[in-house]
């Protein structure tokens, strides 16, 4: 049986009426014991009989051709089984949701660090040594590597907006700001490096790979190696973090699959940390100009947000810098100019919250500057500029709790005690300040399917190719099924990460929980209908709790009702009209207290609060952890994270975890996260919205704003490293 819903209209809040009471509760993750005991197996950890190991080799030029593999010497080294290259090798990973192979061909080099060959040996040590000895020859061509000096700059029509008269509004403004912010490139840097184990069973490839969106990855991999998608199966039950870098099939998977086919034995390829930096995706650097104008009432009359980003020639992805700017604030005169510089640097793609993560670093800091220019409290300024309808297309908003988040945060954080003038609080060497920023991230529902089986023993099995990359999918799907079927959560088993199971939305764009959750919800609704028929009542009249069904004056255990057979339903959710009729987003507010050293310019985050509203919360514990993650990424982007490209050849200089500084434990205070009760009936039949990227959106700007409040230094060139602060402090 199938249960399908296209989200064309707001849906009833069925989950507010179910009886089990498990949904939303802060339950421990069901897979937790496996993870904390080292028993959860990640991709590289499958030890297959007769498995060989491959190590990738990179291009040492920026742009040009590989003229020879030059592999004679290496082929004779101990244990070497083969050296592979060719026209099917990937230049870079597929962009998220591509569903087909990205640019292929190892002979054409587009960036320094591009994987061009794979050395396969009996053991890792042999393969690594040979890979280090392999010296392919290259013929270099000139290459632009700096986005500010690139010869080719694209300005696609569909990425420009010009509405009303921004220049006129700027001139007529009661107060205005015109500022340029820059953000450096970022790396996802998941702790598990990209890894694939490829095994051919006859004509069929089984790939154990670390991936986020399997239904697309299967097609991308099939396309890349030239087989039918049915002949590819991907298994990813555990993924050691992704953050966008594992959205699309990557070079290690394709090279492992090709080598395994050629050698007739399984091949494992794990990227080194350096290869993850160079050969997967980076977030583009941005240069953003913001021009904001308000009238005498503090209402925005102009909002211009322009950006220059970069990517490799031919890549369609460009960082969608204004994604939140489109709908967050008023301003009838609006302009977005977007430029994409074509450079020979590591491919740019999605990194956690593409768009908001950097767009809001600039927008929310500029709003802080505007508040000061207009003499209005930053929270008040934001609240006055919450639009009635979408400022670009006039559609209404679905559930939106931005004002409530700001108010609740202000109350909890003690915003009232803040001195608007910077540099007023000092504790010895430390200058103390607090800052605020809004959070916003559009909500997306994505096509997703899941099969739920209610078995004769009154346990349920949920099956989908959805992934759990740390996001809590195992938790929320088991809680949803338990809630809908009236089962203790322990009676629900969730199987994920296998492309032989019904295809899901995958983990990306914060749509995973709502989309796959909706498919599980629909399947369970189908099961409830069958149970209602068996007990003899309408589906509406059925109550399920703790394995007991009540309806139409009858009370039966689920076991008895299931004696005539288990029930299996596939649920299928599809986005529909509500995606176009209303503007849907999750919202929040960040509050940060920092201490800035007057001696060194060092910044310490002392307190941080996030108040969020994202519709129904499915598991408060995992949702909170997602917010922690986002907020800490915000700290990283504000203070430490920065890819440095060599100006001569564009290569990533700091391609390891010692030089690319993600936040460590000591960089992070004990965070406070609060969720506001909300239901979004337009978002999905389970009334939930995305949360995985909400926490980073705006977070770094709140840090920057707090730094300004602490010491009067406005850093517009992220990250706010001590050198930038001390230089201005001294003035």
């Amino acid at each position: 049986m199938n249960k399908h819903l296209k989200m064309d209209a707001p849906q009833k809040r069925v989950l507010d009426e179910t009886a089990q009471g498990t949904l939303g509760r802060p339950l421990d993750r069901p897979e937790g014991p496996l993870k904390v005991s080292g028993r959860a197996a990640y991709s590289a950890e499958y030890q297959l009989p007769n498995m060989a190991t491959g190590v990738l080799v990179r291009a040492t030029i920026t742009h040009g051709r590989m003229t020879s593999l030059n592999d004679e010497a290496v082929r004779g080294m101990p244990g070497i089984l083969g050296v592979f290259t060719g026209e099917r090798f990937l230049r870079n990973p597929a962009q998220g949701g591509a569903g087909k192979a990205p640019v292929q061909g190892a002979s054409e080099v587009a960036y320094l660090g591009q994987p061009v060959a794979l050395v396969v040996a009996e053991t890792f040590e042999q393969a690594r040594h040979a890979a280090q000895q392999l010296r392919p020859t290259f013929a270099g061509e000139p290459a632009d590597t700096h986005p500010e000096h690139a010869a080719q700059v694209d300005r696609p029509d569909k990425k420009q907006l010009d509405q009303g008269d921004v220049d006129g509004a700027m001139q007529a403004a009661a107060a205005s700001v015109d500022v340029v912010y820059t953000t450096p490139p970022h790396s996802s840097a998941p702790m598990e490096p990209h890894a694939s184990v490829a095994e051919w069973q006859g004509d069929r490839l089984i790939l154990r790979g670390s991936y986020q969106m399997l239904k697309y990855n299967k097609k991308e991999l099939a396309d890349a190696i030239g087989v039918a998608p049915e002949n590819v199966r991907i298994l990813s039950p555990y993924v050691g973090g992704g953050f966008g870098s594992k959205l699309g099939i990557a070079p290690e998977a394709v090279s492992a699959a090709l080598a395994a086919r050629e050698l007739g034995r399984p091949v494992r390829v794990v990227m080194s940390r350096q290869q993850v930096f160079e050969g997967t995706m980076r977030r583009s650097e941005t240069r953003q100009r913001l021009r904001l104008a308000v009238d005498a009432d503090g209402v925005l009359t102009a909002l211009e947000h322009d950006a220059r980003v970069s990517n490799l020639p031919g890549e369609s992805f460009s960082e969608p810098v204004q994604q939140a700017t489109h709908f967050l604030y008023r301003g009838e005169n609006r302009r977005h100019e977007n430029e994409i510089a074509r450079v020979h640097r590591t491919c740019a793609g999605s990194v956690r919250a593409p768009g908001e993560a950097v767009g809001m670093l600039a927008l929310e800091a500029a709003m802080d500057e505007l508040a000061e220019a207009a003499g209005i409290d930053p929270i008040e300024l934001r609240k006055r500029n919450i639009p009635d309808t979408h400022p670009e297309n006039g559609i209404p908003y679905s559930a939106r709790s931005l004002a409530e988040c700001l108010d609740e945060g202000a109350r909890r954080f003690g915003w009232g005690q803040r001195d608007l003038r910077p540099g007023q609080r000092r504790e010895g060497e430390w200058l103390i300040g607090i800052g605020v920023a809004a959070a916003a991230r559009p909500n997306i529902l994505s096509d997703s399917r899941a099969r739920v089986t209610l078995r004769e023993d009154a346990t349920a099995l949920v099956e989908t190719d959805m992934t759990d990359i740390g996001t809590g999918t195992y938790s929320v799907l088991s809680q949803l099924a338990a809630e809908m079927l009236g089962l203790p959560v322990e009676s629900v088993e969730v199987r994920l990460g296998d492309t032989d199971l019904p295809p899901a939305a995958g983990s990306g764009g914060s749509w995973g929980a709502s989309s796959s959750g909706s498919s599980v919800f629909l399947a369970c609704r189908g099961i409830r209908e069958t149970l209602a028929r068996r007990i003899g009542c309408g589906a509406e009249a059925l109550t399920l709790q703790d394995g007991v069904a009540t309806g139409g004056n009858r009370r039966e255990t689920l076991r008895d009702l299931l004696a005539e057979g288990s029930i299996e339903v596939e649920g299928h959710i599809e986005p529909g009209e509500t995606a176009k009729e209303v503007s849907q987003a999750s919202y929040g507010a960040h509050f940060v207290e920092v201490a800035v050293s007057a001696v060194t310019g060092e910044v310490r985050v002392r307190r941080m609060l996030g108040v969020f509203a994202a519709g129904r919360i499915l598991n408060e514990k995992t949702a909170r952890s997602q917010c922690h993650g986002g907020m800490i990424w915000g700290i990283g982007s504000a203070l430490t994270e920065e890819i440095a490209h060599d100006p001569r050849d564009g290569h990533i200089v700091n391609r390891d975890l010692a030089e690319y500084h993600i936040p460590v434990n000591m960089d992070v205070p004990d965070l406070d996260v609060t969720f506001l009760e909300e239901r979004d009936d337009h978002a999905s039949p389970i009334q939930s919205k995305g949360i995985g990227e909400l926490g980073i959106s705006g977070a770094g700007a709140a840090v920057i704003n707090a730094i300004y409040n602490a010491c009067g230094v406005r850093v517009r060139d992220y990250p706010a490293t001590p050198d930038k602060i001390i230089a201005q402090l001294a003035e």
Binding site: D28, R29, P33, V36, Y42, M191, P193, I469
Partner: protein, 169 residues
């Protein structure tokens, strides 16, 4: 080269390439894949194990250097159904998300608590001598060699402090 390692109370003799790191010996040769590889360069802590009573990064040392040494890996602490208190606290406090850095965090925390009980000061300790009160800051400082990109740090700190008896639930 023949090397004998005592791992989680059991003796293993293996014949490994002298270039094999202790981490790869565990992961590739002994199927003890609970110990993770995040960087292979001593920069992330995912590979932390206890060697002769002290926490080390197993990627930074070669297997053949440890003939006869005593090693504890995450597999030796507990298993599902029989988790040790630290592992249970990590589950309860959601001191992880993807779980990849987690074995390293737990091994590092185990070694760290032992250092504290021996009175080792840290960069943030008020005094170089005497007992070390296990404040939030002490834990965060001492655990900063273990990166977590999922950024489960708040839960990690709570789990460790609770296990150490510094705070109760």
């Amino acid at each position: 080269m023949q090397t004998t390692l005592k791992i989680n109370g059991e003796s293993w003799t293996l014949d490994v390439d002298p270039r094999t790191s202790l981490l790869d010996a565990l992961r590739h040769h002994l199927d003890l894949t609970g110990t993770k590889k995040g960087c292979d360069h001593g920069q992330c802590g995912a590979c932390t194990i206890i060697l002769n009573g002290r926490r080390i990064n197993s990627c930074l040392t070669l297997a053949v250097m440890h003939d006869g040494d005593e090693i504890t890996t995450i597999e030796g602490l507990g298993e599902p159904g029989r988790l040790n208190p630290m592992q249970e606290a990590f589950v309860r406090h959601d001191g992880y998300q993807c779980g990849y850095c987690t074995p390293g965090q737990i091994m590092s925390a185990t070694g760290m608590l032992d250092e504290v009980s021996q009175g080792w000061p840290s960069h943030v300790s008020a005094s170089l001598e005497g007992d070390v009160p296990l404040s939030r800051e002490e834990v965060a400082e001492r655990m900063s060699g273990n990166l977590c990109r999922c950024s489960a740090y708040p839960g990690i700190v709570r789990a460790i402090r609770e296990t150490a008896g510094e705070v109760s639930e």
